[in-house]
Amino acid sequence: MILDLKKLKLRSVNEKLQNIDRKKNKRDFVISNPEGNHAVCAGLTENIDVTIKGHVGYYCAGMNQNANIIVDGNVGTGVAENMMSGKVHVKGNASQSAGATAHGGTLIIDGDASSRCGISMKGIDIIVKGSVGHMSAFMAQSGNLVVCGDAGEALGDSLYETDIYVKGKVKSLGADCEEKKMSKKHKTKLKELLKRAGSNIKPEQFKRYGSARKLYNFNIDNVSNY
């Protein structure tokens, strides 16, 4: 079913996708002419497939549960922010705060993501095939961030228990983030994550970064790092 945003109002398109009749068998939707609108496909809860043909604005697929959303274009700030489950695949580039605070599901970005990718992420798996900007995985709590390109300044600043894998260069690590050993367990996990994104890059080419766990509790010697 094609939903044309040139003809239909954004609110009616979102309402339709948020209130899917389970008895009917419609599970495939295409949104055409998104023209940079904000909050396209926000708050979906059912296991449906939606393809957005074009570039979208802020908070696309925010709060997603179960839905499989493909964006054939670029996305603005906060794609898949607070996602709970499901899958969001961006074929272009993403702006800042991609996957912010998300609890679950998978976010795949074929291009680059800009600053603060995965900020405060709480369980989502993010796979970026390009590079990420500064302050990515800031205060990230759990889940995985995979970067096939480079990472900008202050990667993983004030990090909790997210695993970060970067293939390229890291401009600088944030406070309390350090390089970690890549064990067999991590290689297996990374291989599975890359496979989910359709990538066959070898896990051995990546480095793993995680929390040094020195800022968990207040320590006067660390005062300059807080």
């Binding site: 023209e35 940079g36 609108n37 904000h38 074009g54 570039h55 979208v56 604005g57 802020y58 274009g73 670029n74 603005g76 700030t77 272009g92 580039n93 702006s95 800042q96 800009s114 600053s115 900007g133 500064h134």
Partner: protein, 292 residues
């Protein structure tokens, strides 16, 4: 918040439709800035003629025309709503003091190619009022304002022009503008408002006396403290700079015919062939510039 937009034409294909392109961009940024709007449009007419963009405020056009005719050798004077474009071969050093003597009017910009129009009200009303759709030109910059640190007035609207053919639009706020204003005033700069962006424009004009635009903006990274995405225009093109934290958004679309920049992609969604454009976000702390 605020919305900023700009188009630089790489080929002559869209020169006639530049005003129409910019007008749609401004209107779609109304949600980011409903308080006032303005635009600077560059079009080179004749090499020797200066254009002075003036907001009449409460003065009537006839009265202004009669009085200015006595003092200045006019080539042309044209009314556009409450603004006037005055053309003369006489140099700014002579004309600017004369215009300063009119206490009720405001000079919003001058130069050989720039024309500036700005006013309070919603962007859709402002573009209609000045008939932006009918303008042609080589490049243009626009702004929709959500006022934060100074009043909603014509003087508080962007773009700010503090030098010949120069202008600046800004999304963000500066925290060291009072100190910087004092310093620049000592060096002879003049300011007509309490606005932070006007100080940044004055800073750029002052620095352009010694440096080019790219060097100026690079120096600005250490001298201007605050949040900003700037578009700075000159007679030959424009440059874009985001602060190093990149708090304020910007997206650029480039095709073989034009470069467009806006706060959000939706402002560019109507531009010709935009879906095949190279679309990217300018990186923080890096100066991007286009020009002849």
């Amino acid at each position: 918040m605020c919305g900023i937009v700009g188009i630089y034409l790489k080929s002559r294909k869209f020169e006639k439709s530049l005003g129409g392109m910019l007008s749609k961009m401004l209107v779609s940024m109304e949600s980011r800035g409903p308080d006032s709007a303005g635009f600077a449009i560059y079009k080179s007419d004749k090499k020797k003629i200066y254009k002075y963009s003036i907001c009449l405020n409460d003065m009537s056009f006839e009265k202004f025309k009669n009085e200015i005719k006595k003092k200045v050798k006019l080539t042309n004077i044209e009314k556009n709503s409450d603004h006037v474009i005055l053309k003369s071969i006489e140099k700014p050093s002579k004309i600017l003091p004369i215009l300063e003597d009119f206490s009720t009017i405001s000079l919003v910009g001058y130069g050989k190619s720039i024309e500036i129009f700005k006013q309070v009200g919603s962007p859709s009303n402002v573009v209609k009022k000045f008939n932006l759709d009918n303008f042609s030109g080589t490049h243009a910059i626009g702004h929709t304002r959500m006022a934060t640190e100074s009043a909603i007035t014509t003087d508080g609207s962007h773009p700010y022009s503090t030098g010949e053919d120069e202008c600046l639009v800004h999304n963000g706020s500066l925290s060291n503008h009072n100190n910087l204003r004092r310093k620049l005033k000592k060096n002879g700069s003049k300011f007509s408002s309490d606005n932070d962006t006007e100080v940044a424009a004055g800073y750029i004009s002052d620095s352009l006396k010694k440096r080019n635009l790219k060097q100026t903006l690079n120096k600005g990274l250490s001298d201007l403290d605050g949040f900003y995405t700037f578009i700075a225009g000159t007679h030959s093109g424009f440059a874009v700079l985001r602060d190093e934290i990149a708090c304020k958004p910007a997206v650029i679309a480039e095709t073989k015919d034009y470069v467009a920049i806006s706060s959000e992609f939706q402002a560019m969604a109507h531009l010709p062939n935009v879906n095949n454009a190279k679309i990217f976000e300018p990186e923080p702390g890096i100066v991007y510039s286009w020009g002849k």
